[in-house]
């Protein structure tokens, strides 16, 4: 796993290539179809730390084409969510402009042809629809963000980003067994490479940490992200399950910058926020949401 500092927006491509060199990643010479899955979350743009910066994606596209062929077909994929529509999010977050400038395709997986894949994760069995665009890709690249989130999953990064490829807009149907669903989605759609945009991360508030990391192993990426966010990877259940299911390992070799130089600056969750999150859940459980004007 490589950790590289992002010095400036003008050197993103060099940083990405450097990061990939450190993990000895070479793009296949016969590459035709590449899928890139950035993290998009509601209509919040990159400055919030919630979504992948389209400039970072643009730099990766340039890096791929510089190492393969300018004609390689690249698709940026996302699916609709219960509160987010791709037709608007692609535009609002700058991906439509990116697609125009870099001649890449934007694919709403919720409108793609689907194939059902049966997968097991832990004791749970899932029939997951997988988009043809993903199945037909020669190279699948995951470009997640590092984010704190509510219990039970605590952290979202590489593995959770692939959960976003499930084309159903109402993904809350999986929430009662979210950890297993995340692992199942990753088993159904195995991505080849993770390139994490760590320029701005999301904790209690956004913070510019100015780094990126790369690995072939999404479990290792999530374990490192957990450490950066001040969490013990062992406390994240879906990470343990992902390891058991053979998606990767939480043990990794650090290359490039030392990991602890980022962790100290991560904006960690505070007690007030934790209390508010818990109080909100209690309010909804007590069916007080309407009385409080939250519904």
């Amino acid at each position: 796993m490589s950790f590289v500092k992002l010095e400036s927006q003008n050197q993103l491509r060099e940083a990405i290539l450097n990061s990939l060199d450190l993990i000895y990643f070479n793009f296949p010479r016969t590459l035709e179809n590449v899928v890139i899955k950035p993290n998009m979350c509601y209509y919040w743009d990159y400055s919030t730390g919630q979504t992948t910066d389209p400039r970072f994606v643009g730099a990766l596209i340039d890096a791929i084409r510089s190492k393969t062929s300018p004609d390689v077909k690249i698709s940026i994929v996302e699916s609709d969510a219960s509160a987010m529509r791709c037709k608007y999010v692609f535009r609002m977050l700058g991906y439509e402009q990116l697609a125009k400038n870099h001649n890449v395709r934007l694919v709403n997986l919720s409108e793609d042809f689907l194939e059902t894949v049966q997968v097991k994760a832990g004791k749970q069995s899932f029939k997951l629809p997988v988009a043809k665009t993903i199945l037909q890709a020669d190279l699948k690249i995951n470009m997640p963000k590092i984010k704190y989130t509510m219990d039970p999953i605590k952290l979202t990064c590489a593995l959770k980003n692939i959960f976003g490829c499930i084309p159903f807009p109402r993904k809350s149907r999986y929430h009662p067994r979210l950890g297993e669903a995340i692992v199942a989605a990753n088993k159904a759609m195995r991505f080849d490479l993770c390139v994490v945009d760590g320029n701005i991360v999301s904790g209690i508030q956004p913070r510019r940490l100015g780094f990126m990391m790369s690995s072939r192993d999404p479990v290792a990426i999530d374990a490192a992200a957990a450490k950066i966010a001040g969490l013990n990877p062992r406390s994240i259940k879906y990470l343990q399950l992902a390891q058991q299911e053979g998606l990767g390992t939480t043990h990794y070799v650090e290359k490039g910058l030392p990991l602890n130089c980022f962790g100290k600056r991560y904006p960690r969750k505070n007690l007030q926020k934790k209390f508010m999150g818990t109080a909100y859940k209690v309010v909804l459980r007590l069916k007080l949401g309407q009385k409080l004007g939250l519904e």
Partner: protein, 338 residues
């Protein structure tokens, strides 16, 4: 029109603002929510549970109900003209959410329909009922600021989008918000109408206005605007509005020849808000919304004309229209992504 003490109100549209009016309407001293209308069965069920006896899937049916004295119209902007003119023809007094309409032509038609049918028309501008901003009006009137030379107002929020707050799930944005044909514009007409109305109330009519519009989110309409305006009183003001903030800021500053004053409207702490919601049904943050509805009901009971009136809503829209026409940098810089 209204001779009995208790006013029977109907609410048309139970979206975000309609729900707020419903909550407040059920607590008014001299009015009752006699009926609601919305196309969503879920929203109507919620209203029934909250205590509304009569619900309609179509607002035309509500307007045909002779027992309704007045209506609160909280529909998307493109439906204001049709609904308000039908309500006026049905001789219902109208509380119409801002902006009055999508454009000056539609707003004029609404005002004409209200005049022709001799009904009261009030536009929902809660800032006018905010104690902080009312105190500024008093300061201007009593001369303690002297002549206000320069004013500055900022209303920056997440607009129709949900802002990030940990522990809260984002909510979908209704499709009509993304369509300029249906909204009439973006942040300028949405938030700017509040600010422009407030400042015109303070300083009189805007005589000239220019705008600089922002397109951070690459939509067909502006998501932020800076307006520079000159008022009849001679005061000049800068008004900043935007939908880009994951938070809420509403602030007015005045600099006069004698003194200066700043007023803000802030959301209360979540705990305080929860206690207020449970004990009296509305928070301090939404008290101006409650007060404006109470005032509207009082106007109907006392047979007086409400303000902000339809004419004021039309005047605001004329200023907004002038601001759109006088855009300083008309070509948006949309090439943000290199």
């Amino acid at each position: 029109m209204v001779s009995v003490k208790s006013v029977r109100l109907g609410i048309i549209g139970l979206g975000y603002v309609g729900q707020i009016h419903l909550r407040h309407g059920l607590r008014l001293a001299n009015a009752e929510i006699a009926a609601v209308a919305d196309i969503s069965a879920k929203a109507l069920n919620k209203a029934k549970k909250a205590g509304v006896k009569t619900v309609f899937k179509s607002y035309e049916d509500l307007l045909r109900n002779p027992s309704i004295d007045a209506v609160v119209v909280a529909l998307p902007t493109h439906l204001h003209l049709q609904c308000a003119t039908q309500a006026a023809e049905a001789k219902k007094d109208i509380f119409l959410e801002k902006p009055i309409a999508r454009n000056v032509q539609e707003a004029s038609e609404i005002v004409s329909a209200a005049r022709k049918n001799s009904i009261r028309l009030m536009i929902g501008y809660p800032l006018r009922f905010n104690e902080e901003f009312r105190s500024l009006k008093r300061k201007i009137y009593d001369g303690s600021l002297g002549d206000v030379e320069i004013a500055q107002a900022a209303f920056i929020s997440s607009g129709p989008f949900f802002h990030r707050a940990e522990g809260y799930a984002p909510v979908p944005v209704p499709e009509w918000w993304f369509n300029k044909q249906l909204t009439g514009g973006g942040a300028l007409i949405d938030l700017g109408s509040h600010v422009i109305n407030l400042l015109q109330w303070y300083f009189g009519e805007i005589t000239s206005i220019k705008s600089c519009l922002g397109y951070r989110f690459n939509l067909d309409f502006e998501d932020s605007a800076i307006c520079v305006a000159k008022f009849k009183s001679g005061t000049r003001a800068v008004m900043n509005v935007g939908w880009f903030l994951q938070g809420y800021q509403l602030k007015v500053e005045m600099h006069g020849t004698v003194g200066q004053a700043t007023r803000e409207h802030k959301p209360g702490s979540p705990f305080k808000t929860a206690v207020q919601m449970l004990t009296r049904g509305y928070s301090d943050f939404h008290k101006p919304h409650f007060d404006e509805l109470q005032y509207f009901a009082d106007c109907l009971t006392n047979d007086t004309n409400p303000s902000p009136s339809g004419e004021e809503g039309l005047r605001d829209l004329k200023a907004i229209s002038m601001a759109y026409e006088n855009e300083m940098f008309p070509k948006p810089e949309r090439e943000r992504i290199e």
